[in-house]
């Protein structure tokens, strides 16, 4: 009889401490030894992990009120601006925001030593953070200025809410030009001097559930060292792309929007990053458990680096100016070996995502589940999959003359 397991059956095993949990790396060897069917029968959960720069991340914070009360118009945390166009003492600190006094790229390439990702890391590390806010003052909120020191313990709420994380596959970046480029994929040396790549390959969450059969809205996950949930599909979610026979996309495809309590997280898994010439961002640790509901799920989780391909993209002209080019695909196993062949030339590869840390996340999540501390959740709704009809849009180029930003319309 074919293998069929329900979420409840798997959770019952987790509660009893009987669940068989392996990482997305370990499952490969088990399948090679026992075959798909036997492995699917034996394994209940496969854990995945990824740890790399994810710019579309940030945290909502509610600071509580000053006395007198304040309706914050502008907010800075350690000199990095947070968005405060929401309720009086709520703000959103974005990972990619650079410090107010940062010299940016005025002297090229800029260093971007401190940004929103660093603020979030420092908050989670329990460090003292300078909070500055200005306001115009109202009858209900008379205060116009706050300048104080806070820690994560002092705020009412702080939760990570990342609009786009865990990209399912990513570009392999090269530079066809003749000067060094400083990009979000790191330094790209001229004349294809190196090839930069992201994602954790065979360990990466969405590459192990390519059609999002078990990862959906409400899925409980490892996020930043604590517990988080899938809130929605991520921005730029584009599942209807070219896929291999194994279902794995051969282009940037699915993404996830993730949410979780910052107060339960760990600074080791939320690390501020500085990309020379580009800006500040944050490395986010994400781990997603995949229930082996049947043999099909087991087959997906057994995906190997050699079965994963990503598009080679030029960051001199193709990417910045959206020029159509076809530079072929790079294989993930080759990328991880340290050299890849592009146009007959052997090129050094530069990783952006930390494979050892991805491996550790999958291992931590495995331990949580084996100890019965972490149960799986069935998604409350699915996110759009490969049969969706999503069109990837760009900003329309229209003449704004005569429009009045909506003011006169009322």
């Amino acid at each position: 009889m074919a293998v069929q397991k329900s979420y409840e059956e798997i959770n019952e095993k987790i509660r009893k401490g009987e669940a068989v949990v392996v990482t997305a790396e370990e499952v490969i060897g088990i399948v090679a030894e026992k075959g798909y069917e036997k492995a699917a029968r034996e394994i209940d959960v496969v854990t995945t992990g990824t740890f790399g720069p994810m710019c579309s991340s940030g945290a909502f914070i509610n600071f509580g009120h000053s006395n007198p009360r304040i309706k914050m118009k502008k907010v800075w945390l350690n000199g990095v601006e947070a968005y405060s166009g929401i309720a009086a003492v709520d703000a959103y600190i974005g990972a990619a925001q650079v410090a107010e006094n940062d010299p940016e790229n005025k002297v090229f390439p800029g260093r971007f030593v401190y940004g929103g990702g660093h603020v979030i890391h420092d908050l989670v590390a329990g460090k003292e953070i300078r909070l500055e806010a200005t306001a115009y003052g109202t009858d209900c909120y008379p205060n116009r200025k706050v300048d104080t020191i806070i820690t994560l313990d002092d705020v009412n709420d702080a939760f990570l809410f990342n609009p786009r994380n865990a990209y399912q596959n990513y570009n392999c970046a090269i530079n066809l030009g003749d000067r060094t480029l400083y990009t979000y994929m790191g330094i790209l040396k001229p004349h294809v001097g190196n090839a930069s790549y992201g994602t954790a390959g065979q360990l990466s969450p969405l590459l192990n559930d390519p059609y999002y059969r078990t990862i959906g809205i409400g899925t409980r996950i490892f996020l930043g060292g604590g517990i988080g949930y899938v809130a929605w599909n991520g921005t730029q979610h584009h599942p209807n792309v070219l896929r291999g026979d194994n279902g794995v996309p051969m282009a940037t495809a699915g993404t996830l929007s993730l949410i979780g309590d910052l107060k339960g997280m760990d600074p080791d898994w939320l690390v501020g990053l500085s990309y020379i010439g580009y800006g500040a961002t944050m490395a986010v640790g994400v781990g997603i458990p995949i229930p082996i509901l049947d043999e099909e799920m087991l087959r997906y989780t057994a995906v190997k680096d050699e079965d994963i391909f990503c598009p080679i993209v030029d960051y001199n002209e193709q990417y910045p100016y959206s020029k159509p080019m076809d530079l072929g695909l790079a294989n993930f196993k080759e990328l991880k070996s340290g050299r890849v062949t592009i146009n007959g030339k052997s090129v050094v590869t530069t990783p952006q995502s930390s494979y050892p840390r991805a491996r550790k996340i999958a291992e931590i999540l495995k331990q949580w589940i084996m100890k019965g501390e972490f149960e799986l959740t069935q998604p409350v709704a699915a996110i759009p999959s490969a049969d969706a009809d999503i069109v990837f849009k760009s900003i329309p180029d229209r003449n704004p003359n005569g429009l009045t930003n909506g003011r006169n319309k009322r």
Partner: protein, 140 residues
């Protein structure tokens, strides 16, 4: 000629406009890399001195005559393992494999003996886990 030097000087010497003289009288190009002068006005300067051989030698003789102790700069790269997130970007830029990635574990390690202090890793490390360390003596 172009050299990086650490110049140690005492309180009396720091009263002298040494850098001004080096530029004006000896026509040297001076780039101050680091300086630390304490309230007693003792301290050190890390400078890059550039000029033709004759001016360079005359300039350094001038400093020696004032009692300034000069030593060639020794720099070293310090890899902070605790800050490193093991992405491995540095290893792909390191020309001498001093920063090396093990392909099995995908972990980075640093071998000081192979490092030529080119500084490429300082630019590409997103966590800024790699620092340039100037070796400066405690006191003279």
């Amino acid at each position: 000629m172009k050299n990086k030097l650490v110049c140690y000087f005492s309180a009396a010497q720091s009263e002298q406009p040494i850098i001004y003289r080096l530029i004006k009288n000896y026509d040297l190009v001076i780039n101050i890399l680091k300086a630390d002068i304490n309230p007693q006005k003792e301290g050190y300067l890390v400078v890059e001195l550039e000029g033709d051989k004759e001016s360079y030698e005359a300039g350094t003789r001038f400093m020696a005559s004032l009692g300034v102790i000069m030593e060639p700069l020794s720099e070293s790269i310090v890899w902070n393992e605790k800050t490193c997130i093991q992405c491995g970007a540095c290893a792909s830029f390191c020309p001498t494999e001093a920063l090396e990635m093990d392909r099995e574990s995908m972990e980075v390690s640093f071998h000081n003996d192979r490092c030529v202090v080119c500084g490429m890793c300082l630019e590409c490390c997103p966590t800024r886990a790699i620092n340039l360390h100037f070796e400066i003596k405690e006191a003279v």
